[in-house]
């Protein structure tokens, strides 16, 4: 059922996208590639950022769904180490296809590490959104905030509903 819904929302999107899009040339067996991947073990915000909480460190990045909707990332702006981030406030921006999009922090805390590789290789966000494309590591100031984020199943459903909304 979910597969049919996703396929039909993808079909709708393809009708609307320009002929430059190569999605419609993908053979049927690659349809699964059109599904953005959602990783287990992560929490997700409705602004499409993910959080991986390990002990006292939370790593934050943007999801596969987000990078797919952005297009090729050409520039990333991230905060400094030791600065603080707040839940639902923006902490940086990515530029893709002449659009700068803000990145919203899913949790509050202190930035303890920033992914400096993204300065020279912003495309890591597209090719490896959950691993090499991580953006910042934060010491959460209020771990309870993680409870209000979505789990993988909830987030998958959220993405499907958002894409079907048009």
């Amino acid at each position: 059922m979910a597969l049919r819904m996703w396929a039909s929302s993808t079909a709708n999107a393809l009708k609307l996208s320009s002929s430059a899009s190569k999605s419609h040339l993908l053979p049927a067996f690659s349809i699964s590639r059109c599904f953005s991947s959602v990783l287990e073990g992560l929490k997700y915000a409705n602004s499409h950022e993910w959080v991986k909480h390990e002990g006292s460190v939370a790593t934050i990045g943007i999801s596969d769904h987000a990078q797919d909707h952005l297009g090729e990332v050409v520039f990333v702006e991230l905060p400094e180490e030791k600065s603080s981030v707040s839940k639902e406030k923006n902490f940086g921006a990515v530029e893709s296809v002449k659009a700068t999009s803000e990145i919203i922090s899913p949790i509050s805390g202190e930035v303890i590490e920033v992914n400096t590789k993204l300065a020279d290789s912003p495309g890591l966000i597209n090719s490896s959104p959950y691993e090499e494309g991580w953006m910042i590591k934060v010491k959460p100031s209020n771990p309870a905030e993680l409870e209000s984020l979505m789990g993988p199943k909830e987030y998958t459903k959220f993405c499907e509903e958002e894409d079907a909304a048009h």
Binding site: A13, K15, L16, S17, S18, A20, S21, S47, A66, D68, H69, L70, G71, E72, F75, E77, N90, A93, E95, S96, V97, K98, A99, T100, S101, E102, I104, E162, D163, A164, A165, H166
Partner: protein, 244 residues
């Protein structure tokens, strides 16, 4: 809760169109900031600003001022201003007879992302150009914008903040192309800039009408393909924002 959702689905999507004439760049930035905040809070519907700027050079978030080929002081001598912005994209010029459209819309409520939005803006400009029998195309990879052959006729630079768009597109109807000689337009060297005036023999309408036509193309691209109706208004409260 279900009834609210059904109500939302049934009510037609409204786009308010504001025809602002010539507006100083900083004033338009302030207006956009306010409208983005209002749209985010759902105090206003999706809004489209249609305007022109006095001679103005702008840079995007990456601050690529190496693409400005003359000192800033000389720009002032030309009667132009320079502004740094938060939008995507490189350096560009806006001036009289340069149609500017800034859609302030909620991408989340139409369920599309940055790439799809930018492609729609490109498509709108291509369709607009075709009205004048000018065959335009979207840019190749890394050259976002609208081109006639190897000559750039339309530029895009967008900011998305909490899912609400600002800035937008600029289409060269009949600007003074000499202003572009002082920059590497959009950071793409060795490519010309052109205008509708240069590319067509068809008589051009007055700027205002041209811009409304361009705006209508955007509406078509976004809304009619989704079978939603459009209401366009020019609000009578325009005088609160005094254009220069």
């Amino acid at each position: 809760m279900i009834m609210d959702d059904l109500q939302k689905m049934r009510s037609p999507r409204t786009l308010e169109v504001w025809k602002l004439g010539t507006v100083n760049y900083l004033k338009s930035l302030k207006l956009e900031d306010k409208l983005v905040s209002d749209r985010k809070a759902n105090r206003i519907p999706d809004t489209l600003l249609s305007l022109q700027h006095p001679p103005t050079y702008t840079l995007g978030k990456r601050r690529t001022d190496h693409n400005l080929l003359i000192p800033e002081a000389e720009l002032k001598g030309l009667g132009a201003e320079l502004h740094y912005t938060q939008r995507g994209g490189d350096i560009t010029f806006h001036g009289p007879h340069h149609a500017i459209l800034y859609p302030i819309i909620s991408l989340r409520s139409i369920g599309i992302g940055a790439r799809n939005y930018v492609e729609t803006l490109e498509r709108s400009m291509i369709e607009f150009a075709s009205v004048y029998r000018v065959k335009a195309r979207a840019g190749h990879k890394g050259e976002t914008g609208v081109w006639v052959g190897d000559r750039k006729i339309g530029a895009i630079g967008v900011r998305i903040s909490s899912g609400i768009t600002s800035h937008g597109l600029a289409f060269n109807i009949d600007p003074d192309l000499k202003y572009f000689e002082h920059i590497v337009p959009c950071g793409i060297a060795d490519k010309e800039v052109t205008s509708l005036r240069r590319e067509t023999d068809t008589m051009l309408l007055h700027s205002e009408e041209m811009m409304m036509l361009c705006g209508r193309k955007i509406l078509h691209s976004f809304w009619t393909t989704r079978r939603r109706s459009i209401k366009t208004n020019s609000p009578s409260g325009l005088t609160r924002f005094n254009p220069v």
